[in-house]
Amino acid sequence: MTGIIDSALMNQSTIFALPLYGETTVTDLIWFVIILILAIIIAKIITLNITRFLKNRVPKNDLNLISKIAYWAIFSIGFLLALPYLNVDLSGLFVAGGVVGIIIGFAAQSVFANFLSGIFLIFEQPMKFGDNVLVDDTLIVVEDIRIFSTIGRTFEGIYVRIPNEKIFTTTITNYVANTARRFEYNIGIRYQDDAARAIEIIKDLIDKEPFCLKNPAPSVYVDQLASDGVIIKTRIWAPSGVWWDVRTTMLWKIKCAIEAEGMQIPLPQRTVWVNSTNEENTPFIPPTVRDKVSPKNLQSGVPFQSEPAKEQSHTSIEYNSSFES
């Protein structure tokens, strides 16, 4: 096509073939200008589209920066493509540019990496403003996603700036990206308490709480016959935006409701059996307890109670590792 236009111009007038300086003709100059104009038009179109696409995704300052960078990058490519028409020898420029590029590349490696990561984050959108995210070990509320860094606030109100490269290359846990999320409790009751009744109470409470989602349905079941009590697992789904509030309020409501029915949260208990048959096998008894031990009780097979007059279902040396009400 260039040849056709060239020949058309040449046929119309030889003025286009006249050298302006060196070997550069008017035709070359016209081509140089045409390429530059095309580069400007393409740059403007692309910049406009970038601006439209990113308008609601990035802050205004970053948007200006991105659009300017895109504009001048496209213009520079056009300019370099047009330069040969002016018979400018670019080899020296490329060599110099290459050397300078390497130097700048090394110097600005992290800046460029952060910039590129910022661009990718804008497109990928693993988090939005206001999201609760865990980046590496830092739990933040996202306040701004900039072109080089992401700004957040910890739950203690501390300002946190994380380079985009780090965010892009590390694991991001977004706690509110999905519409709903599940949380769970392990509710312990004593063995003598009615687990079926406890489950009924918990289900009733969940049913009455608006933010405990109906679907997916909650699950409440006996999960463990643990050493200290029966563990009732309670799994509840809640809208992501309010799950923390629900989680914190429901636990106390469940505790109060269970206790109101006469059930109790069990505290750790240990039962120790003393079974001494001879002197060598005499069990170790702490000095504080030994004083209370009647020599008669230390005979083989005779159990001992450290706390007198307590109701016990079996005869044993029984003490609590912590206090039980």
């Binding site: 990206a177 519409t179 679907n215 809208p239």
Partner: protein, 235 residues
């Protein structure tokens, strides 16, 4: 209770007391529901302001976290290319809306019924819905207009299969509520495929004694109004 009032005004019945009284240069709004906390608000306005009390889109309480209302009902089976009308009940939320200088604002929203949310679709990509369970009726059921409204639902099965339908999701942005002797909405569900259906509201009230309720979502100037909701995760 429903209707338009000039301020100051007072309303009271067995369950609720509502009032806007003059207090110097201010107007005090007080709402007291039986056995519930009192709600108060101060209005800086003139006597030209008016108050409208009417049922509004039932998706605001206890906290506005969704725009969708889900009504679950006893499953019904509809024949291929069938068309049927059923009646359901939907929950009522009552809005107290103040109007002045051609602008409206909801100063209070309350409800006498229980609230419950649910999730429609998967946790990633699904939507939170305000959930309500209803029986199905072949004719308009009796309802207390302060507790529940009547939804006339047209079911149109465009598939060539028998399909089961047990719930409907309605978009609050395009919700049209009418009130009078009872509260009503008119909606349609088109079953497009075994997993996909489309719901939309019908804007014309069937009964002439009904008047259109003021929509809270319009007073909030929400511009992106979508007329139909696509139930792409089943019905």
């Amino acid at each position: 209770m429903y209707g338009k009032y000039k301020i100051p005004f007072e309303y009271s019945d067995d369950n609720i007391t509502l009032s806007i009284t003059e207090d110097g240069d201010f107007f005090r709004y007080v709402r007291q529901i039986k056995d519930k906390e009192k709600k108060e608000k101060t209005l800086l306005t003139t006597e030209n302001a008016t108050i409208s009390i009417n049922p509004i889109e039932p998706i605001n309480l206890p906290k506005q976290i969704t725009q969708y209302l889900e009504i679950e009902f006893t499953p019904v089976l509809i024949e291929p290319e069938g068309f049927k009308v059923i009646f359901l009940l939907f929950p009522i939320e009552i809005g107290v809306i103040v109007s002045g200088n051609k602008k409206m604002e909801a100063i209070d929203i309350f409800s006498f019924g229980p609230q419950k949310y649910s999730l429609y679709g998967p946790s990633a990509g699904g939507v939170i819905t305000k959930c309500y369970c209803s029986d199905i009726y072949s004719s308009p059921p009796e309802s207390d207009k302060f507790y529940s409204g009547i939804l006339r639902l047209e079911i149109e099965n465009k598939t060539l299969e028998w399909v089961n339908i047990s719930r409907i999701i309605l978009d609050g942005y395009s919700m049209k509520i009418y009130y009078g002797p009872y509260v009503a909405m008119f909606a349609r569900i088109k079953i497009l495929s075994p997993t996909n259906a489309e719901t939309e509201f019908i804007r014309e009230p069937v009964a002439s004694e009904l008047q259109k309720a003021i929509e809270v979502y319009h007073t909030r100037n929400l511009s992106s109004i979508k007329n139909a909701f696509s139930m792409e995760w089943g019905y």
